[in-house]
Homo-oligomer: 219 residues x 2
DNA sequence: TTAAGTATGTGAAAACTTTAACGACTTCTG
DNA sequence: CAGAAGTCGTTAAAGTTTTCACATACTTAA
């Protein structure tokens, strides 16, 4: 419930979950300390950027030493609210939705898909990845107090479902459909558009040439 | 093969595929003209940003009129190399991989997954979404001259497969695994990390409050 | 205890991106 | 045809993000 810490740059905020994951990795490998340089190599973010990011939260490290993995990890666990599980709903149990259901977010990322909805009667009543699938007509009755939804429905259904989610009290939507959905201003939507990501990669490949390849084996 | 146009800002470049898709929509709806303001509402990008983005390519519009949809569309078709099909490989036919294979990129986005690879013998030889699945052991023999790969394998396999892809001549990888892969400097990798996107959304919800909801029906 | 080595945290600069504002020109209306 | 309305392209300003570079302080080892 702490709102005091409100001036972290967005770019930094987006990297926090990445740092958190790699700190978890280091911790389970038994590493006790880590420098911004080492972390940089692992997460592929410039070490100065990492130090700057951390510095927004105060002095987390020690000069000449680096960062204590355990301490940093517990700090980020608090910061990212990983002590309480975030419960989410998933709408649309197609291939993409199924991929999410089978992916065990809870593992090192206290997020749990609690319920799934689909329009296909054949899927209703089944369990996918341990999550019960309900019929989309029951959205309002069964979504309960969940405030985050993952939207993996066909584009044509996106806006209609969104309106119902908003009406049902959802405040954040992770939209995987190609549609740009309209929501009231107090609802947060993040888009992940797979086709666009692919096209963008192709565009960058053709128009933003990287260094030439090494002529001989580059180790 | 044109390389002359090399100073488009990256932020702009990432939005081009989005513009292209919405122009396609408008075109198939039979719209003849569009203003930056209308487009702005559709793609949720500030209209000044849209005008600025377009202006990097010269004067594409007409004052007092807007943009001619047909002209803009054909301009972007060229710019995004949509006249030639981009052929890609997909590695890892799990749920996420299957989602891609069933998604018809070719529809309004001249990109085609030509071949898929998987380690599971049961999947090898089958077709998913019209794409033949080969065994991962045959990667080198069967990948041909494809230069872009979508990586949807388990994280533990990511680096190994990546090394083989690079050796096989791939120059761009769309990495959906949580692993940050190492590649030589001439290879371009874009990461899409689903767990991190979800965590980031949750973080923003808790720490970056948006406007308060309207007290009454907000139209 | 001291010197050498290491790595943080940050001021300042550079780079990149977005947004505001408006002159210029086009289209529309009567 | 004239005035009103509309919309671009762009200059300039503001905002955001990254990167450099280094004084400072800790660690290590002899």
């Amino acid at each position: 419930m702490d709102m005091e810490q409100a001036k972290i740059p967005q770019a930094t905020a987006k990297r926090l979950p990445l740092y958190y994951r790699f700190l978890n990795n280091l911790h389970s490998q038994g590493k006790l300390r880590v420098s911004s340089k080492e972390l940089s190599e692992a997460v592929k973010v410039d070490s100065a950027t990492i130090r700057r990011d951390f510095s927004y939260f105060g002095a987390l490290g020690k000069k000449g030493y680096g960062y204590n993995v355990e301490y940093l990890l517990s700090f980020f666990r608090k910061t990212l609210d990983q002590d309480e599980t975030t419960r989410v709903a998933l709408i649309g149990v197609g291939n993409l939705g199924t991929a999410f259901l089978n992916y065990n977010f809870t593992k090192n990322n206290n997020t749990k898909i609690e319920i799934a909805f689909d329009a296909n009667q054949e899927r209703v009543g089944t369990e996918v990845g341990g999550v019960r699938v309900e019929h989309i007509d029951q959205l309002e009755e069964k979504i309960g107090d969940l405030s985050v939804a993952i939207l993996t429905v066909p584009a044509s259904a996106a806006q209609g479902i969104t309106d119902r989610l908003v009406e049902a009290g959802v405040s954040g939507i992770l939209n995987f459909t190609p549609a740009r959905i309209n929501v009231p201003s107090h609802i947060r939507v993040h888009h992940i558009d797979l086709a666009i990501e692919l096209q963008a990669l192709v565009y960058f490949l053709k128009h933003y040439p990287l260094n030439e390849p090494e002529t001989e084996e580059d180790q």
